[in-house]
Structure formats: C-alpha cells, structure tokens
C-alpha cells in the first residue's frame, strides 16, 4: 500500500479516477470539488476525515466556501502509492452521497 507506484500503474490508476490529474512539478494528484454550499463542502470534508483517519493517510486540502481543492501524495514514499488511489476513490464516492 505504501510502495511508490510505477509510471504504468500510476497512469492506469488515473484513468479510473475522473477529474483527478497529476500536479505540475510534483508526484501528487489533485482534484477540485464544488458543492452547493459550505455545509455540503464541510460535510464532505468531515466524512473524508473519518476515512483518512482510518487509513492513517491524510489529504492536503484547501476549502473556501463551497469549494474543496485536494492534493494527495504519500510523503514517506516521496510519490504516489496505492493509498492515494484508495483515498481518491473514497473521496469521489463520498462526494456523490
């Protein structure tokens, strides 16, 4: 889970994560979510926070009103791992709730 993904595995993972893209100049992935209100945006963040804590893997994220910008990377691996792919998938599921 915490091993750095090969470029091939990374590309394959990104294909299954719509809206996610690689961060320029850094091995990390990013997505911007937009909700109807602050309440919805923070509800999303609260649910993601519980998942992140369970995975012991946490996002870098910025919120202003109804917008949440997320960056995922695994610091210990200095790049992307299966953990990032897993958390990204959970975020997409939670955003649809």
């Amino acid at each position: 889970m915490r091993d750095r993904l090969s470029p091939e595995a990374r590309a394959a993972a990104l294909e299954n994560l719509p809206g996610w893209s690689l961060v320029e100049g850094r091995e990390a992935i990013t997505k911007s979510y937009k909700f109807k209100s602050f309440s919805e945006a923070f509800g999303f963040m609260a649910r993601v926070a519980l998942e992140a804590e369970k995975l012991d893997h946490h996002p870098e994220w910025f919120n202003v009103y109804n917008r949440v910008e997320v960056v995922l990377a695994t610091h210990s691996a200095q790049g992307l791992t299966e953990l990032d792919v897993k958390l990204a998938g959970k975020m997409d599921l939670i955003a649809k709730l």
Copy 2:
C-alpha cells in the same frame, strides 16, 4: 458587522489577536495553527465550521495533517470587517479547548 474597518480599527483589532497578521498584498488576516494530530486539527476545523455557519461567514483554510492555515476576509466588503475579527477570536478560543 459587514462594514470595512478603518485602518485604525484594524490595527487595534490585530493587537488583540495574537498570532494573526495581515496578508501581504491583500486586505485579509492570516494565522497558522499547529495541533498534536490530524484528529485534533480536524476537530478544531469541525468546531470552527459550526461557528462559521452560524455567523454566515466562512474562512479560507488549508489543512495538512496537524497544521491548519487560515485566511479571513469579507469578500462583500473587499476587506476586513468586524465579522473577521469575531471569527478570528472564536478560532483562538476553540484552538485552546
């Protein structure tokens, strides 16, 4: 509450908000909070979110693990207002809980 503060009122407010400073190149105030863990940091954010929703005044904030960086400004006033001072004070109180 939503009127732009005079430079004098802004300076006086900042004196009573330790750790807060003006953002370079923008009429806004900022503070970086550090907690023991993600759980503590997100607990702080959750409590602040409830206050922000009550005030109908929301922060811009960034979180990574145990760190929360906040920027406050009142978009409708294009600057700082009493609402920002109030929310900043609440955040400092919540951070101490």
